[in-house]
Amino acid sequence: MDIFLTQLSNGLAIGSIYALIALGYTMVYGILRLINFAHGDLFTIGAYFGLTILTTFALQGNVSPLIIPWILIIMAAAGVAVIGFLLERVAYRPLRNANRLAAVVSAFGASIFFANALKLIYSPNRQSYPVDILDLPNIPIFGVDVPSKRIIMFATAVLLMSMLYWYINHTRTGTAIRAVAIDQGAARLMGINVNRIIAFVFMIGPALGAAAGVLLGLFYGQIHPEMGFAFGLKAFVAAIIGGIGNIPGAMLGGLLLGVVEAIAGGYISGSWKDAIAFGALIIILIFRPTGILGERVADKI
């Protein structure tokens, strides 16, 4: 039971990272039917921005450790939002009316570009966030010592996701985003500036991805220029499991994937955990072809 609870807390922590990244995939897909394969690299860029900000402004020791994550998240998110905006302008907007797969290939090109740009700017090797940045005691839950880092991480992610959920459902811009996702033409007729909404979504998604990157750096310590690839793929899987295009689905899928992976890694074998994650995806899709919360699309006549 102890192993189970430890792995559960571990899974929820890593799952919250997947969920935050998955939101970016699912929002872009909901609006453009485009799989933004460069999104994983935007997450990595966020992690590197966080590290740069942390070291340049010498935050450690001068600011309370509970505020540091928020400073990093806000600054990194702002920076990556700009990159997301530029990405859409340069790589996706010219392909808006082309074959859907052309944009997918362009996305891969952008992904390769970002990963290698990071290698050139920083270094191709792993880099570390300071280890002692959040020196907090473990918190006992049901008799298991859970590192407080995991709890902060989970809580931060849940807070960000709830903010997004509220924003999408209760503001004018959020309503416009939902409208564009349902029918671009009709939304345009209602006076919504579709291009602006799309650009905006390409800023929110990457901003959340950057937040996930900062959280990963703060709580797991090590970051790598090519890590966005594996995390991006997992998060994309999470978005599909939840039902791509569906925002609560991405959150659920991310947490579920994290937990399944952690428990499988703990009980079965660590070296097979990625395979188990993909296996879970295939099994879920066999039984629910559009994901857990995905809408059933009638395509049979």
Binding site: L101, V104, S111, I112, F113, N116, K119, G279, I282, T290
Partner: protein, 347 residues
């Protein structure tokens, strides 16, 4: 120009001219000496061209988003490597085994998922290829020797001639590409190929007109995998050491990009796109650390410049002249010949 365009043997002549040029190029490189680097690049392109042609049946002709095609290539290469290095079989004998095992694997994994729509199928195929790669890394059944892979694969030997040099392998590989292109050309122009195109353009209409879509999709998937298994067999003795690192997801992406860039399943387009993307990736290595960065930029630029692909899908022609007068209504009696294409191509 029209006479040239309407010539039904245009493809054949173009193909012959192209392969003639390739033979001359290889000879020139060999005779000049020191051309091994270039021959190696050409061989690499050839392997990817044959592989992309096998993906073309699945993605280009049938419209199934398969982004895990490298898995079938990997399986073919591994079966050959195991049979050759552990059991000592000559490559010529491993060829049918590798192809058939790959085809059976593809059939079994595709069976439960082939009905998935577009992007869902895409992610499932990614999953399948990743699971297979992880299995190779984890040394499944003690056959694959983990992350370091299998070494000491022998060269191909036919009738006592051993394909050792890049130059001799060039003929082997590009001969195989020519065979592949010819075979898939005939497949495309058969009843079977028309059914695949029908599924791609309008699946509902296809099934309404009596095309068993699930069956055709499965067959297309299996044929593509079968051929990828053969290319894998060719690849193993070419590279001599195979490891899971050679079959990463990004190789699948490259293949996918080749087929999309080719445009609508066009065979000539696939070969040109292989030159463009694989050749570029090899040539750009001269820029050292900057090479992949430039490659990424190039992928974006190429797609923006030609979003519809390099070539158009081939227009199908159907000579309905013999139908004149056969039916009471329909084709008018006065019309001599009806040679307009019957199936157009919307991307």
């Amino acid at each position: 120009m029209d006479a040239l365009k309407n010539n039904r043997f245009l493809g054949l002549w173009a193909g012959l001219a192209f392969f003639g040029f390739m033979v001359a190029l290889a000879l020139a490189l060999e005779l000049r000496g020191g051309g091994d680097v270039w021959l190696r690049t050409l061989n690499n392109i050839g392997i990817f061209a044959a592989l992309a042609l096998s993906l073309n049946i699945i993605l280009g002709q049938t419209g199934l988003f398969n982004m895990g095609h490298i898995a079938f290539f990997a399986l073919g290469a591994y079966v050959t490597a195991v049979l050759n290095s552990a059991l000592g079989w000559p490559i010529v004998y491993t060829l049918p085994f590798a192809a058939c095992i790959t085809a059976v694997f593809a059939f079994v994994v595709a069976l439960p998922v082939i009905h998935l729509r577009g992007d869902y199928l895409l992610v499932v195929t990614i999953g399948i290829s990743e699971i297979l790669r992880i299995a190779f890394i984890n040394d499944v059944f003690g056959l694959t020797q983990g992350p370091n892979g299998i070494t000491g694969i022998r060269r191909i030997e036919v009738f006592g001639f051993r394909f050792m040099t890049q130059f001799s392998q060039f003929y082997l590989i590009w001969g195989f590409v020519a065979l592949t292109a010819a075979l898939f050309y005939f497949l495309e122009h058969s009843r079977f190929g028309r059914a695949l195109n029908y599924i791609k353009y309008d699946e509902v209409a296809a099934s309404g007109n009596g095309v068993n879509t699930v069956r055709y999709k499965l067959i297309a998937f299996t044929i593509g995998a079968f051929w990828a298994g053969m290319v894998g067999t060719l690849y193993a003795p070419f590279i001599r050491t195979i490891s899971p690192g050679l079959f990463e997801f990004k190789e699948s992406v490259l293949l996918f990009a080749i087929v999309i860039l080719a445009g609508g399943g066009n065979i000539v387009g696939v070969i040109i796109a292989s030159f463009l993307l694989v050749g570029m990736r090899d040539v750009l290595t001269m820029f050292g650390d900057w090479s992949l960065l430039l490659f990424g930029v190039m992928m974006v630029v190429v797609m923006i410049v030609r979003p519809q692909g390099i070539m158009k899908p081939r227009r199908r022609r159907y000579d309905a002249g013999h139908l004149i007068g056969k039916f009471p209504s329909g084709i008018a009696k006065g019309v001599k010949k009806f040679t307009e294409p019957t199936v157009g191509g919307a991307g």
